[in-house]
Symmetry: C4
Subunit: 350 residues, 4 copies
Amino acid sequence: VDDPVCLADYERLAEERLEEPWLGYFAGGAGDERTMADNVEAFGRLRLRPRVLRDVGDVSTRVTTLGLDLALPVLVAPVAYQRRAHPDGEAATARATAAAGTAMCVSTLATATVEEVASAAPDATLLHQLYVFRDRGLTVELVERAVAAGCRAVVLTADLPVVGKRERELRGAWALPEQEVPAVAAARARGSAGHALSLFDPTVDWRYLEELSSSVDVPVLVKGVLTGEDAVLAAEHGAAGVVVSNHGGRQLDGVGATLDALPEVVEAAGDRLQVWLDGGVRRGSHVAAALALGASAVLVGRPAVWGLAAAGEEGVRGVLEILRDELETALALLGCRSPAELRRAHVAPA
Amino acid sequence: VDDPVCLADYERLAEERLEEPWLGYFAGGAGDERTMADNVEAFGRLRLRPRVLRDVGDVSTRVTTLGLDLALPVLVAPVAYQRRAHPDGEAATARATAAAGTAMCVSTLATATVEEVASAAPDATLLHQLYVFRDRGLTVELVERAVAAGCRAVVLTADLPVVGKRERELRGAWALPEQEVPAVAAARARGSAGHALSLFDPTVDWRYLEELSSSVDVPVLVKGVLTGEDAVLAAEHGAAGVVVSNHGGRQLDGVGATLDALPEVVEAAGDRLQVWLDGGVRRGSHVAAALALGASAVLVGRPAVWGLAAAGEEGVRGVLEILRDELETALALLGCRSPAELRRAHVAPA
Amino acid sequence: VDDPVCLADYERLAEERLEEPWLGYFAGGAGDERTMADNVEAFGRLRLRPRVLRDVGDVSTRVTTLGLDLALPVLVAPVAYQRRAHPDGEAATARATAAAGTAMCVSTLATATVEEVASAAPDATLLHQLYVFRDRGLTVELVERAVAAGCRAVVLTADLPVVGKRERELRGAWALPEQEVPAVAAARARGSAGHALSLFDPTVDWRYLEELSSSVDVPVLVKGVLTGEDAVLAAEHGAAGVVVSNHGGRQLDGVGATLDALPEVVEAAGDRLQVWLDGGVRRGSHVAAALALGASAVLVGRPAVWGLAAAGEEGVRGVLEILRDELETALALLGCRSPAELRRAHVAPA
Amino acid sequence: VDDPVCLADYERLAEERLEEPWLGYFAGGAGDERTMADNVEAFGRLRLRPRVLRDVGDVSTRVTTLGLDLALPVLVAPVAYQRRAHPDGEAATARATAAAGTAMCVSTLATATVEEVASAAPDATLLHQLYVFRDRGLTVELVERAVAAGCRAVVLTADLPVVGKRERELRGAWALPEQEVPAVAAARARGSAGHALSLFDPTVDWRYLEELSSSVDVPVLVKGVLTGEDAVLAAEHGAAGVVVSNHGGRQLDGVGATLDALPEVVEAAGDRLQVWLDGGVRRGSHVAAALALGASAVLVGRPAVWGLAAAGEEGVRGVLEILRDELETALALLGCRSPAELRRAHVAPA
């Protein structure tokens, strides 16, 4: 694969260039990896219903969601330890999203501070993904720094009160590179002990969301919502949006595909919440399907890592360009001039 | 495979005789080629319900649709660049359809003029497939020439406002053989520039259909209709028929199989439109199933190319004869003396 | 496989011992052989619902249907040309069914006369399968001879007005062994010409059934009924029973599995017809499932041929004994002391 | 697999260490082994619906059912002949369940007396699995001895009036090791003859359950219930609980997966019966799914044997620890602090 044509090409390139244990870290999921596979397969269970003979001489992929003006409705999902995928790490990803006109969600487990990412990519639109440390003071500090660095939203990850059972990781004798993660280093400096992931607080609940939402000036999204019930609670406790996510199948295997959960979340959200989705997006037509079902945007995690591992910033940009081109084609072939014209009737169960 | 027994035998012969990139061109579909595969698989999801002890001593496969009297309800779909499958190209295909008593739809991207095809096969029943050039004058000219050459209908392709992402084609460094396509040469002569496929107009809409229908004396069919909604619009804007088609899975991957879309189109069409179908027809029993669900005829694209690549005119004739024989057997075994006796009750979901 | 444990073991033995073209003849089906495979798979789509703590100290597999008292509700289906499977041919099969306490349906295309079969196995319970010759006088004669030889029912095959497209047969250059079939020889002697299978009359209809039923003193069954509609017609035209059959998938590929068709036939039959089934029965639990859905008996064709090819009479007996033992076990484990206790509630969709 | 991470690792270890015919004995099922496979696959057909932002800082896997206080809702199912899996046999299993804080159900076909098991593992919580011998006096004696040895419940196996057709066993020329089974030896000493499994009484019915329930001071469960109808009868005849079980797919192939039967049994049981389930449990998330559907506990048979074969007591303990850890993680990720918080809404059809 010299000249990648689709995201699967980037996946193959990444598999060639990444070494264990990091290949396993980025590629793996929890348990039997059924949920991880199902995220992708779910898109194959829908069928698209194209409309014809509509003037599509001028098609735009641009959207606005939660105040973000995006050239394409595909953000880069929070992915930890990006320097393990490529020496340029998060900075490369941020520059690529800026070039593509979209946004990046910087992980709490980034291998760079949010300030470093922001200064490496001044044009980038950044969001801040939040794991809540048991050390709540540190958590407040991280959020404040992120907002000060220009992050446009806080994405509170709700599906990792404990870490999922990722067997590819368990089979190797290795530790997460804590020393490379500034947030973990900060926790250590403030006296926290234990494994990096054990620093996070499993008691976080909806009241915390309410406090967080009322204490920051940017929108807060809850990431990891898979039910209509939780979408209602998110709206009631101050969220501006939710991300329908199962953490890329890395947390609880057996959970349904995000695309299958999307309709009930959209219905429960009504006008109160923006609904984003991640998990299994590999094609522009997948983006169109998710938007037709009511999502405002999607995020890609592993595909961004594939691009990063394959060719750094240029690789991430390549991934985003493929998705943009594919989405543009899909919109035209569905008879839509823009994502806003996508309707539920553009999809049907397969 | 010396003596082909079924269409799959012709497919294997064609795979032996065609070389890349043309094998990939004719065989490939868009994206992950799911829609292309699903077109075939959809026939396997139906089950036939045969009726017994009906006198089937005399079975005919003959049908009439849109004024065409066909010895079998299987036309040859428009396929571009047929000289790349066999030196005799469209002329061979036309002669084979004449021998079989059916009709051929000549592509705008044919590697012969419609006049050449008509004169090479004076007994052939021809239809004209239309891509609308940005140069509308040229488009008018092409339609007029086709009708003058005896084409009995215009088949307006509606599902190619932009070209689908056909990855087999993208992986090779080659260009479409524009120089062999008279219509493209004519566009060039009139000053059009750019890739061959970029000469087509993505702004074509239902008003264009209305203009076209009122300006020609032959029936106009819209090819690429996959929804009941668009069937209604086709009827309202002057079409005499629609072809339920996803362009053989070459345009938007993820679109449903044509057989799955057929019932809603038939229901919406009512008495106002003839409904034809292409995509995935590989057996006479498939023809019977489509007709039982309300189609008046089907078209075969790739199978005709397989025959053409395998043995020129004789190969296309062989393909059509197999389909006729299989359909005759299927009709008898369903308890029908003719296609007109096929009813919805002859099929059920598998 | 020295000591066959299940029918699949006999299948493997038969595959070792039969040679082409006869292996293909007995094993093959029509078209893509989907219906043939689906007959078996359909049993896997049901789930059995066993009842427990019922006294099953004494389980019988005996049934009565259409006046036949059978030690197990599994007859041997009509299979042509049995001497091509084993030199002892139909005589061996008849003796095996007598030993097992069940019945054999002798094919019109048997490689022995019905009188020869009857005298070779005086204890056998025989039925006569009927293909209707264009020479109706010969047909009358064959039926009269069969009844005179002791056949207890006539099984009118309704699903072969023309022969299905069996591609394994078409690929070899061979002819059916007409000279070995007394009925065909008789037709020849009376002046009929053409292929053996072309001697049969495709114009046979429900009126013929009525004539036949009123002219013979034994029950007439219609074999090849797959719809409720035809079950009603069979009852109205004098049949005593129907066999839900798709000719082992040898006639029209794409037809549904017989087990899937069974419920609608049973419902339409009501009390007026006995319903038998063939196709895909490979286990005693399959027999139980068919009976739970309302069949009174099932027939096995290929499994009998496997036994015959493997070991002549002993092989057919082995096949029937396995089915009896498996059925007995299945009944006990379903909580039934006899087939009569099987209810629709013993099965559910999988 | 040096350091087993999941139950499948233990399965591979057991396959390496067990030899035929015992590998086949423990691993095999009845017939085509569809039910055996379906037990596992059924868990993959459900999807879990996790709830987020619930304080799961303190998660317990502890449950109480039928007076048993269990550290995790996973018991070891009755498995015969455990000394054929490991020289330490049932004693090792009992000690492992004690260490894990759960219970073991000792088989009538144990290769140790219940007294030996109890004294080898004084802390173990034991139940007694009962096959009813034709020699009812012996049966009474076995039950009395079990209760006297401290067994906390009697588990009456109802799905083995006759033995299923286990073809892996039939293909080898070997006999069950009767001499190692004290209960069989006792039957022999009292004059019973015939195969070990033929010593059991196929006439046992609901009245027997009533007698048994009223004659022992511990709860009686009926194992092998797969229908709501039988759950009602179990409640009416004195059972305290039922085990939804198909004997690990070893009895009647074609029976549905236990997970698929669970909802109807739970609904029929209402408050009158505790419902347990065995069959196909391979993950902590499977335990959670079964409990969400209304089971109070599950049992594992083959996984315990894998642990036993792999490493004796330590292996069984390893298996139970993996299940406990996985269940704890699953509960936290479903938003539950304990099994009691699991609700039907935590699962949905896949």
